[in-house]
Amino acid sequence: MELPLIHISEDPLELEKITRLVTDDACGAIDIFVGTVRDQTKGKRVLKLDFEAYEKMALSEMAKLAEEAAERWPVKKMAIHHRVGSLAIGEIAVIIAVSTPHRNASFEACKFVIDTLKQTVPIWKKEIFEDGEVWVAAHP
């Protein structure tokens, strides 16, 4: 794998650009996961999401994830971009893009990265409701 492209940004994530960055002449497949802000959680209306990151460590944890994925699958290029700040419904919070020679590995590596990112990368989101706000997953 080439050096993974890891980024945390307050600005909107650029899907076209990220995809161009992972496109590789030796690869026939790119899988891209795009996480967007839903308008509800457990049936309750969400107004927006606020994301914050412990940026230095989040970047290093994301780089570790990319390396772990590259050990398990023949990943050629990978990008993990996460947005922080206040996001409206429908906006993009995260983009993970993985290029591999053949398609199965692109799906598996991309799924591994988003699944593991949600468990290990120090980024937090707060759901803002009409009547309050909640840090997601903070309490059992």
């Binding site: 996460h82 840090w135 997601v136 309490h139």
Partner: protein, 80 residues
């Protein structure tokens, strides 16, 4: 010993600030810090989990803490 303790997510709300100067009795380790924090801020005990990062790495309870370390509270993450 006093450390500069950094808090993210819900722990920032519980501590009331992004960064606080913090000192405690007992073991100067991650485990000792967590024990003391739990007594002073009982709301921390109610969290699904509470980890500590020392110098950008998740740290087990045995890890020793010194004044120069960057010590950060990591409540349950929820990125993505």
């Amino acid at each position: 010993m006093k450390i500069n303790l950094v808090a993210f997510g819900i722990t920032k709300d519980i501590l009331g600030a992004r960064e606080v100067e913090y000192s405690w009795d007992g073991a100067q380790t991650v485990g000792g810090l967590l024990k003391d924090l739990g007594e002073k801020y009982p709301q921390l005990v109610d969290l699904s989990s509470l980890k500590v990062a020392v110098n950008n790495e998740y740290a087990d309870s045995e890890v020793e803490i010194t004044e120069k370390d960057e010590v950060v509270l990591i409540p349950p993450v929820s990125g993505g």
